[in-house]
Symmetry: C2
Subunit: 206 residues, 2 copies
């Protein structure tokens, strides 16, 4: 039997291509630490979740006014949280390679630094986060063996791991990103981070 | 030339059928008063906004998991804000009559009480808010001449007024409800109420 993880714990489910995931990836670790909550990183691919209901693009793009609003809102939120921001030239970016490395490393001590660096590559520096050069550069800046990690990330075993994690997202009822799981309870959207943390810390509204 | 409205002012754009509008309609007046911000009520119909992009139902219903989540989240938010809550048997309800009376009365001193009573009829008592009996009962509880008001609300002139306000929503870039306008700046969703109020009160992040 698997050993039970220590509580309180927050699972952060996110996609490196997702705009609002950027906010949560940048904010979660500090808030969790402040409240004595352990953080589990759960990168997954949002594309298959949307494709399952026939969507070929993020719902933000279905309504042009909503798409325009999203960029204004993101800029405003980044100002509020003092995060760097540069609207990417393309959205959504392909995030498969970034995610494969993320799922490979999700229990490593450097996972938080990796995720924040990839998110900033996307949303502060507008780089191609599916390019091996970008991920290599991120890993090397963290003092990690980039070539070996990319090779492991691209292995059949690890690809299957990402597919399984993406399927698990659906099983948990996740339909967007970022999402937070506390025990079995689901919270969707960066705006619910504080509520999810409060529940994890035993100060929830339940 | 129209006289300029005094600032600071927040416009609350909402549909009586909209779940998250319930939260903002219940919360806005007290928060605005606390920050010395004047509140303008702007009821409109969300249906035509969605129909314009080919949607026949609220986006929440496009993803079953998202629809299920919405009800959980609403219950949780109502607990957080200490608002009464009863999941309506049908969603979205037709809100045309409620909205016609709302647009007729939007500059009356009793508009806040009216909007909160209709929202509670929908989301705390699961009543049909398009039924004349429901709206009559709400108006009579406020000590108002219900029959005369319903007659004015159903007049061709007032119907046109609601159509114009719904079109104006689109012109302002509104794509969902609740939405807040502060000067020309748009905020979407109950989660942005505090940010919108902060901007209106001159303490925004701009």
């Amino acid at each position: 039997m698997p050993t039970r993880e220590p509580d309180p714990r927050l699972e952060l489910w996110f996609d490196f291509a997702s705009t609002y995931s950027y906010l949560s990836v940048m904010r979660s670790e500090a808030i969790a630490a402040r409240h004595g909550v352990a953080l589990s990183w759960r990168p997954f691919l949002l594309g298959p979740v949307f494709q399952a209901v026939g969507w070929t693009a993020p719902p933000f793009l279905a309504l042009p006014a909503k798409g325009r609003y999203m960029w204004t809102d993101l800029e405003r939120q980044c100002r509020k949280y003092r995060l760097p921001w540069c609207q990417p030239a393309s959205f959504p970016k392909r995030s498969v390679l970034a995610c494969r490395v993320g799922v490979l490393a999700q229990d490593s001590p450097w996972i938080g630094d990796y995720c924040r660096a990839v998110m900033q590559a996307n949303f502060a520096h507008d780089l191609d986060i599916d390019a091996p050069e970008t991920i290599t550069s991120v890993l090397e800046h963290l003092g990690l063996p980039a070539a070996a990690l990319l090779q492991q990330a691209e292995s059949a075993e690890n690809r299957a791991r990402l597919r399984a994690q993406t399927e698990a997202a659906g099983t948990h009822g996740i339909f967007g990103a970022p999402s937070f799981l506390v025990g079995g309870e689901l919270f969707w959207g960066d705006d619910r981070l504080e509520d999810a943390i409060a529940l994890a810390a035993g100060r929830g509204t339940r």
